[in-house]
Symmetry: C2
Subunit: 124 residues, 2 copies
DNA sequence: ATTCGTGCAAATGCTTTGCAGCCGT
DNA sequence: ACGGCTGCAAAGCATTTGCACGAAT
């Protein structure tokens, strides 16, 4: 049976409290303050567990080569800025049931990734 | 200036001839027959060059943790089968200009990834 | 001749894993 | 007490990179 662990709760909480789609290390750095003994391995392990349980999502590898995680699992798309590396949410998403018919497949998850230059970088 | 190289042409040709969105190693294995001395590093290097030139695309990391490449750059979505690991094309895709307005961003590339069980695996 | 591309192998770096001890139940 | 969870460090593994040689212009 899965047990309660302060670290796991904190990792989930951290992920749910932010909208910047952090890497494992970003979560680690953040929580290191409350859990000085926290180890990066534990963060990775719990992110994997949480993904399997379906309470969080991997949203893809950012331009720096690191996986990004999202604590908000409503279907939505992600925009990766090629200049500053930020990851933003996009509300648009694909019509999944239409695609299920096209493929004759069963779709469990849809992730839409866009790449370009974000507004902030364009303004500079 | 970029030069003509048999290896680069072969890699591009291989990628354009197939629709299974191969990994670098799959391309390597295939071309190893015609180029016995071909090295995996060269395949990776050329895939990177071809991506930068925009003639091929990285499609995303498959469930086995390896990057998949696509020689067909028309906008389309990809479906990853969770059971057999295959990658299929989906013709549906997002309305990019609508999203550009939503974000005030400049979109260079859109990739739509779906995950689930493909028809073939469902039939079994 | 020059400069880019290749093959080989070593290095990189994110992520995973083994293990001994700890903590929640 | 049991079994999952942690911290630590070592291992894994896809991808990248340095270097000397070969090939294209």
């Amino acid at each position: 049976m899965q047990r309660f662990s302060k670290q796991r709760e904190a990792i989930l909480g951290n992920l749910r409290s932010r909208y910047d789609h952090p890497t494992a290390e970003m979560v680690y750095m953040d929580l290191k303050q409350s859990f000085p003994n926290l180890s990066l391995g534990t963060v990775y392990r719990n992110l994997a567990v949480l993904c399997e349980s379906g309470v969080i999502l991997k949203v893809g590898v950012s331009l720096d080569g690191k996986e990004r995680y999202d604590g908000h699992i409503q279907p939505h798309a992600h925009f990766f800025c090629e200049r500053c590396g930020a990851v933003y949410d996009v509300t648009e998403h694909l019509d999944v049931s239409k695609i299920e018919k096209e493929l004759g497949a069963e779709i469990h998850y849809a992730s839409n990734t866009l790449r370009g230059i974000c507004r902030e970088c364009l303004d500079k």
